[in-house]
């Protein structure tokens, strides 16, 4: 009952293909949980289910006591779930600062008319947005790039900016889709520290998809494993490491347990 996110038997079917089915998950406030699985297992699809990109064809998604099924992605975000993408999706022609400001969009209240006529509410709210966004960039050490176009940032910084942007939407639950993809070991290590830091700083619950096992095993408290759209295991990193079904999914069948 203390669970922040409850996914009950959720699934989605594209025509005859069941991409994800019978997906159950419970996240408690403040947890850092990993979601792993081989390529094509349905990890990103389940993220898309959680964030409203896809509407589940079965099951329920409850967040903070509210049913999320059928809400549009922007409504899900306003309810407190924010995400990053596997392929970086920054607003590449906008400046780094503006990228973060966009995430503050729904927290400001001034109307279109107030902006067109430049009423006082426009100036005061835009000022707050600017200050808060700058604070965020400082936390992520991106403030020196603030006027640079997002597309001109180095790859690793773009990943950081995407996380900064997702956080600026002030979520309770942050979904990270392969945050370490394409990073070198040094950058991955920095990223692990960053994730641990923001989790504490912003009192976040984090769910992350990752292929880098060192990262997942290193920081996640619990891990869910997907294969062929089915949840095959759930548990602590140690349990998962020795789980026969997981080993089968990753390495194939007929692996004797002493190899694990």
């Amino acid at each position: 009952m203390g669970a922040l996110l409850q996914v009950k038997n959720a699934g989605i079917q594209f025509g005859g293909l069941k991409a994800v089915s019978g997906f159950n998950m419970e996240l408690n406030q403040g947890e850092l949980v990993g979601l792993i699985g081989p390529n094509g297992a349905g990890k990103t699809t389940s993220f898309n289910l959680l964030t409203g990109v896809y509407v589940p064809t079965e099951g329920d998604i409850l967040f903070d006591g509210k049913r999320l099924n059928g809400l549009a992605p922007y409504q899900v975000t306003r309810n407190g779930i924010s995400r990053t993408f596997q392929n970086i999706r920054l607003f590449s022609e906008l400046s780094v600062l503006d990228n973060v400001k966009v995430a503050y969009h729904s927290l400001a209240k001034h109307s279109i008319l107030s902006s067109i006529f430049r009423l006082p509410s426009h100036f005061s709210e835009e000022k707050v947005m600017e200050e808060k966004s700058l604070e965020f960039l400082k936390i992520f050490q991106l403030d020196r790039y603030k006027d640079e176009k997002a597309k001109n940032l180095p790859y690793g910084q773009q990943r950081r900016l995407e996380i900064a942007r997702a956080l600026a939407a002030s979520p309770k639950l942050l979904l990270l889709d392969e945050p370490a993809a394409g990073m070198n070991p040094q950058e991955t290590h920095e990223l692990m520290e960053l994730i641990a830091f923001i989790r504490k700083q912003f009192d976040l619950t984090i769910l992350l998809i990752e292929h880098d096992m060192a990262l997942v095993m290193g920081i996640c408290e619990r891990i869910y494993v997907l294969d062929h759209g089915q949840l095959i295991a759930a548990g602590t990193p140690d349990e998962i490491r020795n789980h026969p079904k997981v080993i089968e999914a990753y390495l194939g069948e007929e692996v004797s347990s002493d190899n694990a």
Partner: protein, 312 residues
């Protein structure tokens, strides 16, 4: 402080240009032909800037803009000619009805993307033209007689308002939301932006100003006919925006000015006019495919030194 001074600079510049234009027309240095060209230029700038909001800022490829021009033109003409109400009121109502038409078209069609949206809006533009063609009340194919009421002053005031409103919209959280949609719709959605709302809002605002331009347009000539609003007119407006640079308001203004001048002068050579006009476009697209201004604004060239590059 900086924002405010920019605003006053714009206003001073506007008054200056207005004064020069008004002076030249009053003293008769510019004859009727040229003063008419100036008004046409303003109408084209308003159209270009309004479409810039839809295509350049929000990234929705609409090519039925002449449809909204037609709505504004006919509605305002009906108000002055049939109801004999004042011109100012006619322009405003023309804009509002065009904005409503924008809402009506935008809500269903803006779910479409790219080519599909382009075709749907193109279809809409043609529907509007054919509707007016078949309404006897507004003269059908023969057209509608309209008295000449558009002046340099009224056109210029409309232009200043258009530019102010659209640039204020763009430089706010709302404009940023629209640009975010242009840059990456999925990410914009994931950042809590109601993408449908902003697409429709930008479309309606763009249609509103196209309607305003329509009011000026219909009262600038003595007759309006459905053929004035064919899809070639839509393409003319589209060319202003693309040639100026997608995403640059000053670019679309400059392109509208240049192309109005070119096509006006070329009227003396009707046989070669379209050929030269087309060659100009082909050459610009070959050597400057991003448009005259790219995504930059004219103000960027003045404030460039102040922004510090990262990486120090």
């Amino acid at each position: 402080m900086k924002k405010v001074s920019k605003f006053w600079l714009f206003l001073i510049l506007a008054v200056l240009i207005y004064g020069i234009g008004q002076g030249l027309i009053q003293t008769g240095i510019l004859n009727a032909f040229y003063s008419n060209m100036l008004i046409l230029m303003i109408i084209n700038i308003i159209l270009a800037v309004s479409l810039h909001l839809v295509i350049g800022i929000t990234g929705q490829f609409s090519i039925g803009h002449a449809g909204f021009l037609a709505v504004g033109a006919y509605v305002s003409a009906i108000i002055t000619m049939k109801f004999e109400l004042p011109f100012v009121l006619a322009i405003i109502i023309g804009g509002i009805v065009a904005a409503l038409a924008g809402l009506l078209v935008g809500i269903p069609t803006l779910r479409l993307r790219g080519d599909y949206l382009a075709i749907a809006t193109l279809g809409f533009g043609e529907i509007i033209r054919i509707v007016f063609l078949n309404i006897e009340y507004v003269g059908g194919a023969a057209g509608m007689m309209v008295s000449n009421m558009t002046t340099w002053t009224s056109a210029f005031v409309c232009l200043v308002i258009t530019i102010l409103v659209i640039s204020n919209f763009t430089n706010s959280r709302h404009g940023r939301a629209c640009i975010a949609i242009r840059e990456n719709e999925i990410a914009a959605d994931a950042m809590g932006i109601n993408t449908t709302f902003y697409k429709v809002a930008a479309f309606a605002i763009g249609s509103f100003f196209a309607g305003i331009a329509g009011g000026l347009f219909s009262h600038n000539f003595y007759i309006i006919q459905p053929t004035n609003f064919g899809f070639l007119k839509s393409f003319d407006i589209l060319i202003f925006v693309v040639l100026g640079g997608l995403g640059s308001m000053s670019g679309s203004v400059i392109a509208a000015i240049l192309l109005t001048i070119i096509s006006t002068y070329l009227q003396q050579y009707p046989e070669t006019r379209m050929i030269i006009y087309s060659i100009v476009l082909v050459v610009v697209m070959l050597y400057r495919p991003q448009g005259l201004m790219g995504t930059r604004e004219i103000t960027d060239f003045f404030g460039k030194k102040k922004s510090v590059k990262g990486g120090n």
